[in-house]
C-alpha cells in the first residue's frame, strides 16, 4: 500500500494521475508525487520504521509504490559515520559522512532506480531504460536483471571499457551512441518519447527522484531522529539536492522529527558548474554549460532541477562550492587518508567543496554537518592513478626490504 495520491505540477499545481508522466501539459513544469500526509501521520511511527528492513524499504510508507512488490537488491540504509579525523582537519567537530559508496552497485543511484523500477513494473512496463555514462547504467542494469525486466542502456560510444563492464555484466542491451554529448542527449530525449519504455529519469522521473528522499530519512534516523544543521550535497541534475530536504520536511510533517532548519549547500565541479556559477552571480537563471571535468557523474550541463536547486540554496541560506579537477583529486585523497573511504570523483567534489565552504566561512564550526558521499572510488580510478604514493619495490629478501623501508624512514615518510 502506498500513501501517494497524485502527481502535481510544481509550478502551476495542476493535478495528474499517478502514471508515467513527468511534465505538466500546460506549463511544462516538473511533476512531483503528493501523499496523504494526514493518513501517513496516523500510520507511521519511529518504532514502525526501526522495525523495518535494513534497506531503503524501511521507509516504504513514504514511497510512491507498493513495497510488497519491491525490486529489492539491498539499496539504502548505508552508514552514517562521525568523521572525527576529517572533522579535525576541517575544524568541524560535528562532521558526519553519509557513505553511499556501499550500495549494491556502489552508488546512490540504487535508491532512485529501486523506486523507479518498482513503480515501472507496477505500471506494466517490461523495459527499463536510461542514458548514462556510469552509475545510473550500472544500477538500471542490475535492477532490471533482478526484476526479470529487459534493460536498454544508452551510452556514449567513446565510454571507457572499464565503465561498460559494470553494466554489461548484468546482461542489458547496451547501445553505444556515436556523436557528441549534446547529440546523445537529444537522441535519448526523443527515444523516451517515442517508445513505450520506462525511461527511469524521464517518463518515470517523479517516482525515480523520490528515492533520493531516503537519504534524508536515514540521516535523521541515524542522528537519533533529528535533522542536521547543514547538509553538503553534490549537484548534478539537482534532484538529489532538493529531495534530501523533502525527506527531512516530510518527517517533520508527520511528526517524527522537529521542524528542520537545515541549511542546504551544494557542491559542483568548476568544469560543470551551471548552478554554482548562477549562484555566484546571484542569478536564479542558470546558463547551460558544456561539461569538462573529471567528475563525470556530475557532468550535467543543463540540469533539470537547476532552478529549484538555486531556490533551495536561497531559501535555506546555503552556499555552493565550485572546485577544480586538482582540488577534486585532493578531496578524494583527503577523504581516503582521514576516514578510510575511497569515493569516486563526485565524493572529491563534495569534500573539496566542504573545505572551500568552511574556508569561506559559510559553514560554522558549531554546526552538525552531513556531507553526502554518493559513489565508490573504484569507478573512477583513472582520476587518481599516478597521483598517489608509489609502492616500494624490493627483492624477496629481508635485507632488500630493510634497505627500501629504511630509506623511506630516513626521508621521514614511513
Amino acid at each position: 500500500m502506498s500513501f501517494a495520491t497524485e502527481l502535481r505540477c510544481r509550478e502551476c499545481h495542476r493535478s495528474y494521475p499517478l502514471q508515467a508522466l513527468h511534465a505538466c501539459e500546460f506549463c511544462f513544469g516538473p511533476l512531483e508525487v503528493q501523499y496523504d500526509y494526514d493518513a501517513l501521520r496516523r500510520h507511521v511511527s519511529r518504532r514502525r520504521i526501526e522495525a523495518g528492513p535494513p534497506s531503503l524499504w524501511r521507509y516504504r510508507d513514504f514511497l510512491p509504490c507498493d513495497a510488497d512488490a519491491a525490486i529489492d537488491i539491498g539499496a539504502g540504509f548505508t552508514p552514517l559515520i562521525h568523521a572525527k579525523n576529517l572533522g579535525k582537519v576541517l575544524g568541524l567537530p560535528q562532521l558526519y559522512l553519509k557513505n553511499d559508496t556501499v550500495n549494491p552497485t556502489w552508488s546512490f543511484k540504487d535508491r532512485v532506480v529501486a523506486v523507479a523500477a518498482t513503480r515501472a513494473r507496477e505500471l506494466g512496463f517490461q523495459k527499463l531504460a536510461c542514458a548514462s555514462t556510469g552509475n545510473l547504467a550500472n544500477s538500471v542494469s542490475a535492477h532490471a536483471a533482478a526484476a526479470g525486466m529487459e534493460a536498454i542502456v544508452f551510452i556514449p560510444a567513446d565510454l571507457e571499457e572499464g565503465k561498460i563492464v559494470g553494466s554489461s555484466i548484468y546482461g542489458p542491451t547496451l547501445v553505444k551512441v556515436r556523436g557528441n554529448y549534446d547529440a546523445v542527449n537529444r537522441l535519448c530525449a526523443e527515444l523516451a518519447g517515442a517508445y513505450n519504455w520506462a525511461f527511469v529519469n524521464v517518463n518515470v522521473r517523479p517516482y525515480y527522484s523520490e528515492g533520493s528522499k531516503t537519504l534524508g530519512f536515514e540521516v535523521a534516523e541515524q542522528l537519533g531522529w533529528r535533522a542536521p544543521d547543514h547538509c553538503v550535497v553534490p549537484i548534478a541534475s539537482g534532484s538529489l539536492f532538493i529531495k534530501i530536504r523533502k525527506g527531512l520536511n516530510e518527517l517533520a510533517r508527520v511528526g517524527l522529527i522537529d521542524e528542520p532548519r537545515t541549511r542546504m549547500s551544494g557542491a559542483q565541479a568548476a568544469g560543470c558548474s551551471p548552478v554554482a556559477t548562477a549562484w555566484a552571480e546571484r542569478s536564479m537563471n542558470f546558463r547551460p554549460q558544456k561539461p569538462n571535468t573529471i567528475a563525470k557523474s556530475l557532468a550535467i550541463g543543463n540540469p533539470a532541477d537547476g532552478y529549484y536547486a538555486l531556490v533551495q540554496l536561497r531559501d535555506t541560506n546555503g552556499d555552493c562550492g565550485s572546485v577544480t579537477d586538482d582540488e577534486i583529486v585532493e578531496g578524494m585523497k583527503l577523504l581516503a587518508e582521514t576516514e578510510g573511504i575511497f569515493a569516486e570523483t563526485a565524493g572529491g567534489v563534495t569534500i573539496a567543496s566542504l573545505k572551500q565552504l568552511v574556508e569561506r566561512g559559510s559553514i560554522h564550526p558549531d554546526e552538525l554537518v552531513v556531507a553526502f558521499i554518493t559513489g565508490a572510488g573504484f569507478k573512477t580510478i583513472d582520476a587518481v592513478a599516478g597521483r598517489l604514493k608509489p609502492a616500494l619495490e624490493i627483492d624477496a629478501s629481508l635485507e632488500s626490504f630493510e634497505r627500501a623501508y629504511g630509506a623511506l624512514a630516513h626521508t621521514g615518510v614511513a
Binding site: 513527468h22 511534465a23 506549463c27 511544462f28 543511484k109 536510461c130 542514458a131 548514462s132 555514462t133 556510469g134 552509475n135 545510473l136 544508452f154 556514449p156 554529448y181 549534446d182 546523445v184 542527449n185 537529444r186 535519448c188 530525449a189 526523443e190 523516451a192 525511461f199 529519469n201 524521464v202 548534478a236 541534475s237 537563471n285 546558463r287 547551460p288 563525470k296 557523474s297 556530475l298 557532468a299 550535467i300 550541463g301 543543463n302 540540469p303 533539470a304 532541477d305 537547476g306 563526485a346
Partner: protein, 80 residues
C-alpha cells in the same frame, strides 16, 4: 506534421535579435512560445515547433548556427 518542444537559451549578443521570428520566416515551421524568461543579459524560451520533422530539425540546426543553445525541455537526459 510533428510537434517538438525545445528550450532555447540565448547568449547576451543575441538577446536583441528576433531569432524566433526569423526562424518562422525562413522555415515552414509554426513557432509557439510557451514559457520564457529574458532579461538584458541572457534568456531562455520554451518553444513548441510544429511542422515536417525534417524541416523542424533544419530549423533547429539553423538556430544553433546563429548561436542559440538548443536543449530538450527535460534537461540533460544522460546522467552519470
Amino acid at each position: 506534421m510533428a510537434v517538438k518542444r525545445v528550450r532555447f537559451t540565448f547568449p547576451e549578443e543575441l538577446i536583441r535579435e528576433p531569432v524566433i521570428y526569423r526562424l518562422g520566416h525562413e522555415f515552414r515551421v509554426i513557432t509557439n512560445i510557451r514559457m520564457a524568461d529574458v532579461d538584458e543579459h541572457t534568456g531562455w524560451v520554451i518553444l513548441e515547433l510544429e511542422g515536417d520533422p525534417d524541416e523542424i530539425e533544419r530549423s533547429l540546426r539553423w538556430a544553433e548556427a546563429q548561436g542559440v543553445r538548443v536543449d530538450p525541455i527535460t534537461g540533460d537526459v544522460v546522467e552519470g
